[in-house]
Amino acid sequence: MARVTLQSLVGRRREGGPVIAQLLESMGAGLSIEDGAGAPAADQAGDAGCPVVHEGETLGWVRGPAPQAAAFAGLLAHLAARETEKKLLGAEVLNAYREINLINRFSEKLATLLDAKTVAAAAIEQAAQMLHATFGAVLLLRGDTGILDPIATLGGEVLLNGGIRLGEHLVGAMALKGNAEIVNDVCSDPRYGGGDPALCSMVCAPLKIKDQVRGVILLGSTDAAATYTAGDLKLLNTVALQTATALENAFLYEKTLQAAKAEALEATLAEVEEQKRRAEDMLLNILPESVAQELQLTGVVQPMYFEDVTVCFTDFVGFSKSTMTLAAEDVVSELHTYFTAFDRIIGRYGLEKLKTIGDSYMFVSGLPKRRAANPVDAVLAALEIVETVRSMGASPAGVHWKVRVGVHTGPVVAGVVGIRKFAFDIWGETVNLASRMESCSEPNRVNMSERTFARVKDFFAAEPRGRVKTKEGQDIEMYFVTGALERLMADRSATPPPAFQRRYQLYFKEQVPAFPEYLAAVVAAGG
């Protein structure tokens, strides 16, 4: 604090200066004031003057007639005492203002922090600055374990030995107590123990959230001469209150953030699942399930050889004419109607649609799952396709197509080729012959090869066509399927007819997958 001088009391620019000058003049006794310590030499009149003494120190002298000089010196001493008091008060106010200013800035800073560790670090930094501490730590209770863990520390030379159990040693005991506390001689405190930091003096305040102690803020010094006061305790408590609120906000923010992240993650996962499902559906739409799985697992599909499958082709009679008379979209719409019906039929028989080529529809029986009954199933589906086309009649656009179906049984190689717009396909002479069967068929009839006939003759009646010349000039034995064998259809009490079912079971050790309703009816009518 600045020393009080006579100059600072009576200077002309000072608050009391003009009043003193006026008083001095009005007393009119030749009084004068001399600033400075020590005893001055007597003046020419032999006047040694009266000392102005403040707190045992001579601030200066008042010269002049003894009674007035003594009274004036007394007045100045009184003013000096008041000035000192004023300065002390001013220093205290300044200190309080400085603290308010620091706390104000600390509040502003805390308002911008959303992370618990950053809040804790800012709190320690602020408190250490205000309390002149060499060490600081914020310890938080870890869940329900009762362990206080440091989340931020200052002053690396003093180590906290891991977590401190609530109630144990000095820091643990102070935290358990839940009140701010000063310990100015740490080592002599009976509670001091292994987990406590090696400090000479310490001040600690609880971090309370909703009246629950969630941790402590701890400040201390390794300087043996350092001591903390009640004022320090009050300050730290203020910092602790602000810190606790900021920590609570940080925890809430973290919780909200986690919840939002979890929600976003869940939504993303659901979206990914949905997309995956769609992709799988699309894949299943173009590939048999087992092939799709192999493609998904390994990225490639190995070519497979199938010794015994039945390949079918269908082709519309009158389609080319329709393309000339109908709008393209009507043609596509008609095709869609027919092919949708075909899709449903071969789905019921568990057969595999391979592709459509213009107005031709190609499917196969006996792959990818090998089935001994593949020729019978294919012929059943072929008959149902023919009957479906026949019974659909004329469409609103006036279309009434007929269908040719060709069936042949033999070996094929199946696989997926290419890397874009890949499709499951089959290759081999069997495919070519099946196509020949179709081109040599007649409207609304199922034409089959001798090889297929040999496999289905115990189930279906056929009309031998003899050797028929194909477009390529080959002569091939062909048969029109005329229906199910009559003897298998005698008992019509169930669908499929019991005799048909029994034979199918006997030959192939399984149930007939489906049976064309019309076939039973035709036979019934005929029978």
């Binding site: 300065k87 001013g90 220093a91 300044l94």
Partner: protein, 125 residues
């Protein structure tokens, strides 16, 4: 001739606070002058020619903006370093203060240490 700082604020406790914050300079011989309104501040500046003025904005008789403008533009005392010290913290007020000729604009509550530091810097101490 000793260096001078004028503290102009209508609130006595703030005058005392600033005076207290600058006490170290006073001990070093810097003269601290006080004014409790805008008119007094302007008179003191004209008469005493202080090196540095801590000038409150909202004062009776004459605002800090007006005093600042008068000193810098009317009296043309450009060498007087003026710190506007006020609770007004809006950017527009700050700009108004700087337009009036203030060298620095500080908002209340001020940091006493920053105030002393600024004074030392201006006085070259």
């Amino acid at each position: 001739m000793s260096q001078k700082i004028l503290i102009a604020d209508d609130e006595p406790h703030l005058r005392m606070l600033i005076q207290q914050a600058l006490e170290d300079l006073e001990d070093d011989g810097v003269e601290l002058l006080l004014a409790c309104n805008g008119e007094e501040a302007l008179e003191a500046i004209e008469a005493e020619k202080p090196d540095l003025v801590f000038l409150d904005v909202m004062m009776p008789k004459k605002s800090g903006f007006d005093v600042c403008h008068a000193v810098k533009n009317v009296l043309a005392m450009k060498h007087v370093y003026i710190v506007l010290l006020t609770a007004k913290g809006q950017e527009s007020d700050k700009q108004k203060g700087l337009d009036a000729g203030a060298d620095v604009y500080m908002t209340k509550p001020f940091d006493p240490d920053a105030l002393l530091e600024k004074a030392r810097q201006v006085l070259g101490r």
